[in-house]
């Protein structure tokens, strides 16, 4: 007997919320970035759970797509953070408030 | 659900204990043989005083480490400093769980498979766990709060990420032919779609069919274990001792043990994937239900031992790479070779309807062509650069970048 789908969805919702709260309360760009990864992961969990519930492999397939995009996103994001740090000597998102390099 | 206590609890525990101890004893033997072999290579004796032929030297070393003062410097980040050695040792030990170290021993009704767990994604499990080994190095380096350690950790993380790609891509060709991710299937019979496993004779093993991928994989394995010629993370002449500069006593010993464990596990994986696992000229099938298992285990053991000797041999023969050479080698030579092997294996498998001889020849020729092209382009590039400007400390660029960033 497998567990009901609700359990996984609730866990996924909680993880997502923690990610959202992190983005809202933290000011360190890197930690905000980690929280975004956390939210993506919560979505992945929901994908896999529903995939098993429906007995279809598509859910797992999309998790793999999400991971590929997340990897690309992390590479770009961290490169941006590094170059911002080089120019401004900070990664506090409150201080990075002008578009002018 | 009925649980058979003997089959599901007792035998797995015995297997786990046996393998774990074998690994630790293997580390001790490796420490001894590394020193003896290096002595032999450098035309000197090596340790020969403690016990016959110096065999008890590792025990003496262990006692020394245990009784040394366990020093924790004041300036370190204490929780992470203590955690780091464990984070390196645990992945090293976990990997062996899926490696099949022999056929099966059959006692009456009972068949004992000589493997702790035959999971259906075995090779992915190995890649996943080995990719965690880098945390021990990086966290240890960071927690030490020391400039040299930090540099070692930075180098190591960049190196590991780069070479992991080759490690993962190099085995794709093998996987395509065997049609399975389970290590037992890859080592032995093969299965499912393509279904070309490794036979019992050397010319049926994967290292001939995927010769370039085998070389690339082995080289990446050397890099993953952080040994010479890839020990940039702990280069003594540049970084004191790299990431374990601040460690002493048993914590240092654990770093040391993890390195040797990684070597042993890496050799076992290479033997399984490329060198036919526990098979050798049909010897493993002789000797009836009980002894064939033991013989197959012995064959696997000897093959792993020979490969471990190659590890030591390379370490004491080749000098260390420079950092930019290391990165260039990984990205511009190994990675293209691994990618070529995937393309050629797939294409030729369809084109020749699975003729392994042609796949083997095609792989080698294609890799040779790719390497020559890359080398040609690099040579041309270097020439034009040298003509354009006086090469000004190009090799140092990478290093100065990191040092600037840290200060």
């Amino acid at each position: 007997m497998s567990l009901p789908l609700e359990y996984y969805l609730v866990l996924s919702a909680l993880l997502f919320t923690i990610g959202v709260i992190g983005v809202l309360i933290r000011r360190n760009a890197i930690i905000i970035f980690m929280c975004i990864e956390l939210m993506l992961n919560a979505a992945n969990l929901a994908f896999v759970a529903i995939s098993r519930h429906l007995g279809q492999a598509e859910g797992q397939l999309f998790v793999i797509f999400v991971m590929a995009v997340a990897a690309a996103e992390v590479a770009i994001g961290l490169a941006i953070i590094v170059s911002v740090f080089k120019h401004r000597e900070t990664i506090n998102v409150d201080e990075i408030n002008s578009l002018k390099g | 659900m009925e649980i058979n206590i003997l089959e599901q609890i007792v035998i797995p525990i015995i297997k786990v204990l046996f393998i774990a101890h074998l690994l630790v004893i293997g580390v001790m033997v490796m420490i001894w043989s590394e020193r003896r072999v290096s002595g032999w290579i450098q035309d000197r004796l090596g340790p020969n005083r403690v016990g016959p032929q110096g065999l008890l030297q590792p025990i003496a070393d262990g006692i020394k480490f245990l009784f040394k003062e366990d020093l924790i410097p004041n300036h370190v980040d204490k929780p992470l400093y203590v955690l780091a050695p464990a984070m390196l040792l645990i992945p090293a030990m976990l990997t062996i769980a899926v490696v099949p170290f022999g056929d099966a021993i059959t006692i009456g009704e009972l068949e004992i498979s000589l493997q702790i767990a035959d999971i259906n994604i075995g090779i992915l499990y190995i890649l996943a766990i080995t990719s965690l080994g880098v945390y021990g190095v990086v966290i240890g380096a960071w927690a030490s709060n020391n400039k040299y350690s930090l540099l070692g950790g930075l180098r190591s993380s960049a190196q590991m990420i780069s070479y992991e790609l080759t490690l993962g891509l190099g085995i794709i060709g093998v996987l395509m032919l065997s049609g399975s991710l389970s290590l037992r299937t890859i080592a032995g019979e093969g299965q499912a779609i393509a279904g070309e496993g490794q036979g019992s004779y050397p010319w049926e093993w994967n290292f001939l069919i995927h010769f370039p991928a085998f070389l690339a994989f082995t080289t990446a394995m050397f890099a993953e274990t952080n040994r010479l010629p890839f020990d940039l993370a702990e280069a003594e002449q540049e970084l004191v001792a790299g990431y374990h500069t601040e460690y002493s006593s048993m914590k240092f010993a654990i770093f040391f043990m993890a390195e040797y464990m990684n070597m042993i596990v890496g050799s076992a994986v290479v033997v399984t994937l490329f060198l036919g696992g526990w098979q050798f000229f049909g010897l493993e099938t002789m000797g009836g239900p009980i002894w064939s298992g033991v013989i197959s285990f012995a064959i696997f053991f000897i093959k792993t031992g020979i490969f471990l000797f190659v590890f030591i041999w390379v370490r004491w023969t080749l000098p260390r790479f420079r950092y930019d050479q290391l990165m260039n080698f990984g990205w511009k030579f190994l990675l293209p070779v691994a990618l070529t092997s995937i393309v050629v294996t797939g294409t030729l498998y369809i084109a020749t309807k699975g003729n392994l001889v042609w796949i083997g020849i095609g792989n080698t020729v294609a890799a040779f062509i790719v390497v020559s092209i890359v080398a040609g382009i690099l040579a041309l590039d270097n020439n034009s650069k040298a003509a354009a400007q006086d090469t000004s400390a190009a090799p140092l660029r990478q290093e100065t970048l990191t040092i600037e960033a840290i200060e």
């Binding site: 007997m1 497998s2 567990l3 609700e6 359990y7 969805l9 609730v10 996924s12 919702a13 909680l14 919320t17 923690i18 709260i21 809202l24 309360i25 000011r27 360190n28 890197i30 930690i31 980690m34 990864e37 956390l38 992961n41 896999v48 098993r52 007995g55 492999a57 797992q60 998790v63 793999i64 797509f65 991971m67 590929a68 995009v69 997340a70 990897a71 690309a72 590479a75 770009i76 961290l78 490169a79 953070i81 590094v82 170059s83 990664i91 506090n92 409150d94 | 992470l80 994604i121 992915l124 890649l127 996943a128 990719s131 966290i139 960071w142 950790g153 930075l154 993380s157 990420i161 960033a405």
Partner: protein, 181 residues
């Protein structure tokens, strides 16, 4: 007690604790380590759900590559001294947490309620069909076949995205080699 439930509770609790630790540690390196713990327990949950391949990829990609990159950047920028300056959290922290709790309640409500409606509407035959499907394990083979047949175009597009990211990163961090005149 259902052994699956026990495993679920262990991994679920660990992942929630890890996630909370990510947003509450002061130092980014501790946050990164907590995030690795969360990713690991999620891989455990994937195994529990029978998605072995995804679990392995989760560890390889997230724990093995992405988080190493995070650690690399944290070490490269040496952010330890930076976060000690204060201004670690925003001014409206309380409001953010209240809004977050609201979101959590909403999410849980939707997760539970939507499924209830779903099962209430569905006919018995549909339920049986769904139950039969749900017991069918999804093998790595199924994923591979789908990936290279029905979803070939998205798969190729993903490779383009990775290529674009590769080029983008090189352009972003490339240092000008020309000497300044």
């Amino acid at each position: 007690m259902n052994p699956e439930l026990i495993v679920f509770i262990i991994f679920g609790t660990v992942s929630i604790i890890g996630a909370i630790a990510v947003i509450s540690f002061r130092h980014p390196i501790y946050s990164a380590l907590s995030l690795i713990v969360t990713f690991f327990s999620q891989a455990g949950l994937f195994v529990l759900l029978g998605a072995h391949f995804v679990a392995a990829v989760q560890v390889i990609v997230y724990a093995g590559a992405i988080m190493v990159l995070f650690l690399f950047v944290i070490m490269l920028l040496n952010l330890g001294t930076l976060s000690a300056k204060g201004a670690l959290t925003g001014k409206l922290k309380g409001v953010a947490i209240i809004l977050g709790i609201l979101l959590a309640v909403e999410g849980v409500y939707i997760a539970v309620r939507a499924l209830k409606n779903d099962t209430a509407v569905a006919s018995d035959a549909a339920k049986e069909a769904a139950a039969a499907l749900a017991n069918k394990p999804i093998e790595t083979y199924d994923i591979g076949r789908l990936l290279f047949s029905d979803y070939l175009l998205p798969f190729e597009v993903t490779s383009l995205i990775l290529l674009a990211a590769l080029i983008g990163v090189i352009v972003l961090v490339k240092r000008d080699k020309q000497p300044e005149n």
